[in-house]
Symmetry: C2
Subunit: 195 residues, 2 copies
């Protein structure tokens, strides 16, 4: 997605060979017009998948997921990393390990919102090791719903998540795939080329 790549080039900061900071438009400050364009793009790519629910995880996934849900006219659910006051015991849960933080967290979704037969589109801001996607997939399976695909705003193509998930025959649509962050430079994988 050209508009997103340009925004990354313009505003993204390479903090190390593995870390790209995009908090000017995606995960601290949000650019609403860009989120709308991202939602339109995901909706276009998954328009024939019969999506009934968009699922994401708090917090940075919420903005792109909500715009996607708006464009597809379906509800959006965000998984919780911490239980909220009004979340009772009617939960689907999975464990997600974060390699960057070196901690394992339980994520949860109320059983009320994922049903057998739901066709679920996962949306997240980043794909790195794929642990969040695998955790959400686990929750979708517990609900006997179907995962129809994964929409990622920025995929770190030099980390294993994309390969792990595609090897499970899950459709992954990443709007920007970063091939490397070496020497402080963002290098994109061109669309249509193999990783």
């Amino acid at each position: 997605m050209k508009q997103l790549q340009e925004k990354i080039m313009q505003d993204g900061k390479v903090l190390s060979d593995e870390v790209l900071k995009v908090d000017t438009f995606l995960n601290h400050q949000i650019d609403p017009e860009l989120m709308k364009a991202i939602g339109e793009e995901f909706a276009e790519r998954f328009k024939d998948s019969g999506v009934t629910k968009v699922l994401t995880i708090e917090s940075s996934g919420i903005a792109p997921a909500m715009m996607t849900g708006l464009m597809l006219a379906v509800p959006v659910i965000f998984a919780r990393k911490r239980k909220s006051l009004t979340m009772t015991d009617n939960l689907l849960t999975a464990s997600v390990h974060s390699y960057t933080k070196n901690e394992t967290n339980e994520i949860s979704v109320s059983k009320d919102f994922l049903e057998k037969g739901d066709k679920v589109l996962l949306i997240d801001d980043f794909l790195a090791n794929g642990q969040v996607v695998l955790g959400l997939q686990d929750i979708i399976e517990q609900a006997e719903a179907d995962l129809v695909g994964v929409g990622i705003v920025i995929e770190k193509g030099f980390q294993p998540g994309g390969t792990t998930i595609r090897e499970k025959s899950i459709r992954v649509e990443s709007l920007a795939i970063i091939e490397s962050l070496q020497n402080g430079q963002v290098k994109f994988k061109e669309e249509g080329t193999a990783l």
Copy 2:
């Protein structure tokens, strides 16, 4: 806002005299069309305030804040409850006490995104004791920006936050004000009547 009141009556669950569960459309599952209508309503109410930034806090404030920012064509910032990997030491912080959880948390916003002279509209899902609004106001003052108003989706009119904030001459626009939750019934304050 009639559409919101109807949604609360239809889908809200009164868990106690103080707790209303609205996780079918606001803070776990999100109704994107309703969020769009909420964003339009806030934008209409604050259209003459010269808003340059919308500020909220993760996670449940993000959806209504983003739709408001989209309608006003300004960036949205969400304060963090936990520091993220890429948040370095360039932060504005404030302490926020949660009476419901009986814990005090530090919230933070990067100095990069709030500037002197910014006209900031705060958006949040709930107003109860007002501690989040006061914490965000503290951060806005640290940045030497101006708080032009507060937009709340659901105000608990029987808790003191609304009074506390209005007494500081801050404009508060709540789309639904709940007068009481007694006997399992949601009772709204009618618009235009004093609390």
